[in-house]
């Protein structure tokens, strides 16, 4: 293991036949020293760029270290953006995985660079490449995921985040990428925010719920924010809040119970005027949380839920009656504007297939138009393909679970425990044998037989 002390050394070692893990170790020890990063960030003799001597794919490690140093050190020589772009498209993932923290640092550097240029969108492309090639499989969670989401939110490029969010996370390993619990929480929180902006309420709800349900001993502020948004999204999506799943840690659920959002949720879906008043009362609080827009959307959705409730009770209703149900007082309901509002609402709900109804207009008296609710049309035929897909997905999950189970069974910790347990039993048996000396050796044999039977059964 050679120690590096100059840029020349770095270049030399990269060109040599030293295997990459050794190179990685050398570089790691280099940056541990105070001079390490500034050295990497500097230019060679006569201002020559060390990067010119290095190949992006073959010498990924060196380029990675240098780039990350350059981008994150103040006053270092700037790197042209196309270089960064091409590096992210060409780097060697195996080499890169030997230095996961540097990769994260590189991404942060790219993000800062784009910010400095007042154009955060620039960062999206390279980091996305970085992420998709770095991760050993789709759905493998890395720190890059979080950085990318953050950039998308900052630059308001919501749709760019969708390809990432749509792949559910299925694997994580601290060796490959240095993630911590905050990354997990942030990923799901930002994901939920993005989905909510795109008005995909069901997916937003799932993400917020996963943030709230993350394992741990205590509650985190991120979870608190996620829970507030979760309540609001659930109101929009279902018309009422749903109870938290059972596996949410107890301390978390306790913290979450005391929120002013509960009054809002309880009074949903009453008339918009009443809900608006609740909003006004705590406006400062809600604004500080940044949830006012979401609440306003929830209020706008409230009449739809009222109408949906009516479909359960009535077959036909006049528009006047619907308007009365939606509005807060009877006087306001009979004005022509209110009637028209109600009519438009019903029409839009029919168009979006939220209710199944027909509206028979009466042009001379719009208030008396009759809405007839029908049952949703049954599927024309039972689609076996849909069922099969669900079954297949479930089976896939089952296999995964089985694999996990076997892994645990192979793991050292488990084997240790079982070993200890069986040893303890044998000790106990021995003690019984001692006590039962009068009965003679026969007793011991019988009991030993029983124990062996039991142990054998356990292993099956």
């Amino acid at each position: 293991m050679s120690t590096l002390s100059s840029l020349n050394d770095v270049v030399t070692i990269s060109h040599s036949n030293v295997p990459p893990p050794n190179i990685a170790n050398a570089l790691k020890s280099l940056v541990k020293r105070e001079v390490g990063d500034p050295l990497l960030a500097s230019l060679g003799p006569e201002n020559s760029d060390p990067l010119a001597h290095l190949h992006q794919t073959a010498h990924t490690l060196a380029v990675l270290y240098i780039l990350s140093a350059r981008l994150n050190t103040q006053g270092a020589a700037p790197v042209p953006f196309e270089y960064i772009d091409s590096f992210c498209a060409n780097f060697d993932p195996d080499q890169a995985r030997l230095a996961p923290e540097r990769v994260t640092w590189l991404a942060k550097g790219i993000e800062d660079l784009a910010d400095r240029n007042q154009n955060p969108r620039l960062a999206i492309g390279p980091i996305r490449n970085l992420m998709s090639r770095y991760a050993p499989s789709k759905g493998f969670f890395t720190s890059l995921h979080v950085i990318l989401l953050r950039i998308c939110v900052k630059s308001e490029c919501w749709n760019h985040a969708l390809p990432i969010l749509d792949v559910p996370l299925s694997d994580v390993d601290k060796v490959i990428s240095d993630v911590n619990y905050l990354d997990n929480l942030t990923y799901y929180y930002l994901g939920g925010v993005i989905y909510a902006v795109l008005k995909r309420w069901k997916q937003a709800e799932e993400f917020f719920e996963m943030c709230v349900a993350a394992p741990g001993n205590i509650a985190s502020a991120v979870q608190l924010e996620a829970f507030k948004k979760l309540t609001l999204v659930q109101l929009i999506s279902y018309g009422k809040t749903r109870p938290l799943p059972k596996y949410v840690t107890f301390t978390t659920s306790r913290v979450l119970k005391q929120q002013p959002y509960q009054t809002f949720a309880k009074n949903y879906p009453n008339s918009s005027v009443a809900l608006g008043q609740i909003l006004e009362k705590d406006l400062a609080h809600f604004t500080a949380d940044g949830n006012v827009g979401l609440m306003k959307q929830a209020i706008r959705h409230a009449p739809r839920w009222i109408v949906r409730r009516l479909t359960d009770t009535y077959v036909t209703l006049s528009v006047a009656e619907i308007s009365k149900a939606i509005a807060s007082d009877v006087a306001a309901a009979s004005t022509p504007e209110a009637i028209q509002e109600a009519t438009l609402l019903i029409l839009s709900m029919i168009e979006q297939n939220e209710i199944y109804a027909t509206l028979t207009p009466t042009p001379d008296n719009p208030a008396a138009a009759i809405v007839t609710f029908r049952d949703p049309p049954p599927p024309k035929y039972f689609d076996p393909a849909v069922l099969e897909k669900i079954v297949r997905d479930a089976q896939g999950n089952n296999t995964q679970l089985g694999l996990l189970d076997r892994d645990v069974g192979k793991s050292r910790a488990y084997l240790n425990k079982v070993n200890l347990a069986s040893k303890a039993r044998m000790v106990l048996l021995g003690q019984w044998a001692v006590k039962d000396k009068e009965g003679g050796a026969m007793a011991f044999d019988d009991m030993a037989e029983l124990e062996m039977e039991r142990l054998r059964g356990d292993w099956d």
Binding site: R150, S220, L317, L401, L404
Partner: protein, 488 residues
């Protein structure tokens, strides 16, 4: 027998109402009208009661029904003058005299003085007896003197003291029949106080004691053997008490079953606490409000024991027959005694125990009737329904909407044509939808589970950062929390 602390503690209500018994009645504001449409024969009603309950019921009636008040108060006073409760006498007399337009009745001072003197004498005597026996440590005598004191206080209207003494006598009970006696006395007082919540403790005690006394049958044939008339009376009293406890708690179905189980002979409670016609009414109303029609048929009409009670009040039998015959209009009419609105049946509202439950029971019976009526139909005109029940169309519609929202009627209202249409549901489609939904949900939750397991395996768990205060809420989210205002 050692006394456990729980036996000595008084029910809270008794402790707070140490005053005259009349004030302890829960009086709800509400006036009952009695006229030809709501016939009510005060004298006939009160003549079947004796003892304290007679005048208490009279007072209750007087408080709720202004037209009958003078007569009721007079009857009450007549009963009181024969008793020893001076406090109540004075209170009721002033209440009577404050009635508008009543002829002022003078306070019978002679009665008052005489009774007070008698009461004091009696009390002193009993207390001296108690002290003597306590000093002599003769258990049975102490118990008896406590019991006498309890009865004395009961007759003067001091419930708290009466209960206290009966509880004290528990310590000196030596066999099961003593315990039963104590429990019955306590139950009497509690029933009069309408303290339903504490009835169940004493019922349970008495029942255990009754069971414990059963083995004594072989060795001591006589009073508390199984099947003996004494035992039956006690059982009947206990059943009545438990039924009242259930009714007081609003559990009408359990109350109905308890009433229906009751044996025929209530012993000395008959008239002193309750009459058979009362039991008939309570039992039937509770059954109608909470049991299905087949259950009523099996339990009420074919029960031998309850048949005895049904004989006492013929109009209850009429109500039952109308209900079974689906003549709902008659049911409601009979319940109201020939009136249009459901809440003014004089007989029910003026009954001490039943009055608080009348509105709930009536509503429940009506709801059941509505559901029963609609069962065989696919569509029905709301006007026909309203006519069948004798209700207005708007009332009927409001009722139906409430029932649909509670899920008791599976139908929808066509408000344009005023028709009620039953919901037809296709089980196949429902099953398919449910299966698909369940599958998707299972898949999602398994996926989340796997993810959480992976997190735990990789040790990505929320923990308090080292060196900081416990709860990690110091984390703040630096990454852009954007305001939603501009995302309308």
């Amino acid at each position: 027998m050692t006394s456990t602390p729980e036996d000595i503690e008084l029910p809270e209500a008794a402790q707070t109402t140490a005053g005259p018994s009349v004030a302890a009645l829960k009086v709800t504001a509400g006036q009952v009208v009695v006229d030809e449409n709501h016939p009510f024969d005060l004298d006939a009603y009160l003549s079947s009661y004796s003892g304290r309950t007679a005048y208490m019921r009279a007072v209750f009636i007087a408080q709720r029904c202004p037209s009958l008040a003078p007569q009721a108060y007079q009857t009450a006073l007549a009963h009181l003058v024969q008793g020893a409760d001076v406090q109540s006498y004075v209170t009721i007399l002033s209440a009577y005299n404050s009635l508008p337009g009543a002829t002022q009745a003078p306070q019978d001072q002679e009665y008052v003085d005489r009774t007070i003197a008698n009461n004091t004498k009696e009390k002193d005597r009993l207390e001296v007896d108690l002290k003597t026996y306590a000093a002599n440590m003769i258990k049975e005598s102490v118990r008896l003197s406590h019991r006498e004191l309890g009865r004395y206080y009961y007759s003067t209207g001091d419930y708290a003291a009466a209960l206290r003494n009966h509880m004290k006598s528990r310590e000196f009970c030596t066999n099961a029949s003593h315990v039963i006696e104590m429990c019955i006395s306590v139950l009497e007082i509690l029933l009069e106080q309408q303290n339903y919540a504490h009835l169940s403790t004493y019922i349970y005690k008495a029942e255990t004691a009754l069971d414990a006394s059963q083995p004594a049958k072989t060795s001591k044939p006589g009073s508390t053997g199984a099947g003996s008339p004494e035992r039956l009376k006690i059982q009947a009293k206990l059943e009545f008490a438990s039924a009242m406890a259930e009714m007081g708690a609003g559990r009408y179905d359990k109350a109905a079953y308890a009433f229906l189980k009751m044996k025929n002979d209530l012993g000395d409670w008959n008239g002193k606490v309750v009459t058979p016609s009362d039991i008939a009414i309570y039992g039937t109303l509770c059954a109608l409000a909470s049991l299905s029609r087949s259950a009523i048929k099996a339990a009420v009409l074919e029960s031998e024991t309850f048949g005895y009670y049904l004989e006492q009040e013929p109009y209850i039998r009429d109500i039952l027959d109308a209900y079974m015959g689906s003549k709902f209009k008659d049911v409601l009419l009979l319940m109201e005694r020939y009136s249009a609105s459901l809440f003014h049946c004089a007989r029910h509202l003026l009954d001490i125990h039943l009055a608080h439950h009348v509105p709930t029971l009536a509503q429940q019976i009506r709801n059941r009737a509505l559901v029963l009526y609609f069962q065989p139909f696919a569509t029905v005109h709301l006007e026909r329904m309203a006519a069948a029940f004798g209700m207005e169309l708007t009332d009927m519609e409001a009722n139906i909407v409430k029932l649909i929202e509670e899920g008791l009627i599976k139908a929808r209202i066509d408000s344009q044509n005023k028709i009620l249409k039953a919901k037809d549901h296709d089980p196949r489609v429902e099953l398919y939808n449910r299966a698909v939904a369940a599958g998707l949900e299972t898949e999602a939750s398994t996926r989340k589970l796997l993810w959480r397991m992976k997190l735990l395996q990789a040790d990505i768990v929320i923990r308090a950062p080292k060196g900081q205060r416990g709860d990690g809420r110091q984390d703040s989210l630096q990454s852009g929390l954007i305001g939603w205002d501009d995302l309308q």
